[in-house]
Assembly symmetry: C2
Amino acid sequence: MNKLQRTPERYTTEEYQDRLDKIRLRMEREGFDVLILSDPSNMSWVSGYGGWSFYVHQCVVIGPDGPPLWFGRSQDANGAYRTVWMSFDNVIGYPDHYVQSTERHPMEYLCARLTDRGWNKGTIGVEMDNYWYSARAHERLQNGMPDAKFADSTGFINWQRAVKSEKELDYMRQAARIVERMHHRIADKVEVGVRKCDLVAEIYDAGLRYDEWYGHGGDYPAIVPLLPSGPDAAAPHLTWDDLPMKPDEGTFFEIAGCYQRYHVPLSRTIYLGKPPQVFIDAEEAVLEGMEAGLEAARPGNTCEDIAKAFFRVLERHGIEKDNRAGYSIGLSYPPDWGERTMSIRRGDTTELRPGMTFHFMTGLWMDTWGYETTESIAITEGEPEVFCDIPRKMLVKD
Amino acid sequence: MNKLQRTPERYTTEEYQDRLDKIRLRMEREGFDVLILSDPSNMSWVSGYGGWSFYVHQCVVIGPDGPPLWFGRSQDANGAYRTVWMSFDNVIGYPDHYVQSTERHPMEYLCARLTDRGWNKGTIGVEMDNYWYSARAHERLQNGMPDAKFADSTGFINWQRAVKSEKELDYMRQAARIVERMHHRIADKVEVGVRKCDLVAEIYDAGLRYDEWYGHGGDYPAIVPLLPSGPDAAAPHLTWDDLPMKPDEGTFFEIAGCYQRYHVPLSRTIYLGKPPQVFIDAEEAVLEGMEAGLEAARPGNTCEDIAKAFFRVLERHGIEKDNRAGYSIGLSYPPDWGERTMSIRRGDTTELRPGMTFHFMTGLWMDTWGYETTESIAITEGEPEVFCDIPRKMLVKD
């Protein structure tokens, strides 16, 4: 740990070094000489840096040897000094006149630094389909390092992160305690007339405050709370307004606890009034399907086995869900708490292994209403570990 | 307003139509036949859609005629139906098996739909350097529409948004009331021993809750609260932890109020103890520099005139700040509340016009400490409108 570094650290230097060794082995196997990581979760997992600076160009570079290189805006290099495990000569800040300039691009600066190191040759992996790797960044890198061959490494590090260590699982268990507390708070506070914005304030409060029992406070989830009601719940990603909760509407609460940037998402539905039969029927199907899916969530099975078990029950109940039933989760930054590797859907034949973690997202978004009850799980040697302990049934407040 | 649409609307159909007309005029002048907008703030300003779905590929397309086209994941099309001003046949959802697939890409689906309309020819503007326009998306569009010429339209719509309407300024005034309330709450609650995570809970609470006086609740700001203390304040973008506030440290609070997605950022510094002389000297320079900058913030002057006036004072006090002193603000989505057009720095010769709005970001991030006091302003015919009314001097709690 360097002298400027903050405590506590998320991982030890040994863990970072071990990750790096495994990454290098795989780079060799896949023919990458250099990897440029633009995804903040990959940057963080490899280097330790996690500031809110992904709105300017930045990356972590893994070269053919030595520790990774942190590259970002010079004012953020201070944040890198305080959080990365590498020594300071592996931190490069670019001058501020590169920021949002129409004349200069930060990737030009990066090309020069990589060329200094002789890392401008061979095959360079770039995360072609990551949010934080723009079309322009790619163009400038290609122009600035004409001797290199560029290849797509989207998901390369994400896949390395798929199986969680015991420490990572512990961070997720902490996040589970946080999201449980958030749902308890919602259940306490929600009623007709309570304004959406005030419920969101309660959700943040429960998700952030220091908990004396567990000895932790919360971090910001990668997605803001989603709590659409009535017909808005047909649309899974509209955010809140400041209007009061109405009677005779269902609302789903899609939220996550976040600890050390590890997420445990959990959704529940609350109905203010007497739920119509369509809700009750949908719930019966989803709960039964969820049990079937959990039963299939065993090592040796595949992602699609979970999906098939779930969808089979739904179809028997005459419900069509035309979107995936979950995705891998873990360390994340906005805009998504998903890990963007495995999906619980037909066609995803990834074999399940102990330590993999998923949000089993069994939400239904119909024409004029929505219903969500979900679980976050870890694959173990036996039956899956269900992170949270909150009743799955919709809460009815009449 | 269509029958599924939510109330209240952010803008009227007339405003949308007026914007579209102006955009088309400018497209013609700059030689664009089609514009593809990936930036959620541009999508929202043009179409009305603003769900948290930018973690999958989506865009708004402005073709040679007719209303804009909303394109996104099919499960988000429900959200588009409920929020856009266009009729439903201008909303296109792509099937879910395009999401995070290694075989299919949503841009392939888009190419087919644009080709249906004959919009696959001429010059297509794409936001090459936007977060939400990945290198892969660009490649797939180019492959899928070989008859088109692609040109960079980064910032095209952002520049259209630079001068705010009276309604937009009113939204920002509401956001100003919110951020004032947030700073009052911080001042009330901060003291030695209070945990960072609990302060963040207070900040969210003050920023979100419904205010009976003003008749509004808050929305989520595009950046989470930043409140680094002591040496962490040297790094502007590290986020909070769950440790207690310590004596004899300065903390800056960089936060924004958000209303109808319009942001008013405001930073203040609080010192718990007796501030060292270096803080007091820095503050004197910044406050004087800020006055000089505000004096220069007049129509007919340029962005760099504000910067020069500010930096001149700083240099006279022997302080070097090597980063920009602000940027344009307005409607925004994560990861940035800046508008990414104008910067308050030397070399930006954009002429100031009434209705332009800026975060005058006069923060200092030194080797082992940081200090921020900032203002959000609107250019008027006379002296600038300073949105907030919070004393600029550092708050000392001894």
